[in-house]
């Protein structure tokens, strides 16, 4: 399965920061993720099974890594892609 750079970055951020809202991911990406667009990417990642989300009372969703996301991240670490995604 191919994981595009934006999705790699999100996997990496979720791994280090833990479960996060979309806006938190945008803020911690230091401008590499964009508001609005991030939810399209997170939706695609959820369809692929990389992340899961739960709806909160205020209408926002909190995202966390799923098993496949952990495995993709581990594969990226072996390939040495994680540092590139984070920098």
């Amino acid at each position: 399965m191919k994981v595009p750079p934006t999705e790699q970055l999100i996997l990496s951020l979720l791994s280090t920061d833990g479960a996060s809202y979309g806006l938190q991911l945008v803020e911690s990406s230091r401008g590499r993720l964009k508001r609005g667009g991030i939810y399209v990417t997170l939706g695609k990642m959820e369809e692929k099974g990389l992340v899961s989300s739960s709806l909160q009372a205020d209408g926002r969703r909190i995202y966390e890594l799923r098993g496949l996301g952990h495995r993709a991240l581990a594969a990226m670490e072996i390939m040495g892609d994680v540092s590139g995604a984070r920098s």
């Binding site: 806006l23 609005g36 939810y39 399209v40 369809e47 926002r60």
Partner: protein, 298 residues
Amino acid sequence: MTGPIYAVVRTLLSVLPVDHSGRRVFDETLADWRREAANVSGHLARLAVSVRAIVSVVRGVVMISAREAFNRHGLASLGRLGAWSAMAVLLFVAFNFNRAIPVQGVHHALQRAIGLEAIVLGSVSWVVALLPLLAFMSAASGRQHTARIPRLGPAVVAGVVMLGAMGWAMPAANQAWRETMFALNGGTGPIAQGINERSMVELVGLLTSSQFSSAASALNLRLVFIVAVPVLLVLGLTARSLGGRWRLAASVLPLLVFAIPFMVRIDSPYGHASSWPALIAAVLLTRAIERRAARVTA
């Protein structure tokens, strides 16, 4: 506190034809907006939150549209519309009997062939005028779609193409056709543009001149066509997703309602006044049929 801008954007988003995943993107973006607006005070800070949120919404709409337009179903919808349009041009060229014009000879009138290029140029405005119907027919015909197919992406692409067609391509083709005819009659040099030969930017410029009335009418008519094509494409895709008598109703009734201004004469004052209400009524009628069909089927 979110305010009136939020309410307007939320209403606009609610009418966009997106699937479940697209709706989720909008819901989350609006939830972020509400949360940020609740954490700031002062008009300027609230305005900044609104501007940021609108940029987010626009980015979301663009990304969803791109995803929908360039997947298999979206490309199929656009491909069908392209094929139907190409077929309309071919039919117009094949069955256009005005292949020659009378020109004054030395002693008597002569018939002079106008050539394929002029026939094609003359077909542009006819085909553009037929595009709302072609969009609907291309989307509504064929086997029933059982799965929910993307509608926003193809509609946005069709709208952008229509903006180019009505804004610039059609006026340029009209002017080229007139100059070709002028040259065939022995004229030389450029001829003055009529209102239908002006680009939309030129028409906007004319709104502050003495030609306000004709420029406003021409602009209104072009905007109706630019909006009608993506809207009728969506209505056609909706009709195609229905079955039995619901499909028949959604294929006939909205088209009849939208045709009213054309039957009145679209370029008359009554035609202008009724064009937008007719388009809105066609949308509401389709939504009512879709909801009724879903209730009965459930």
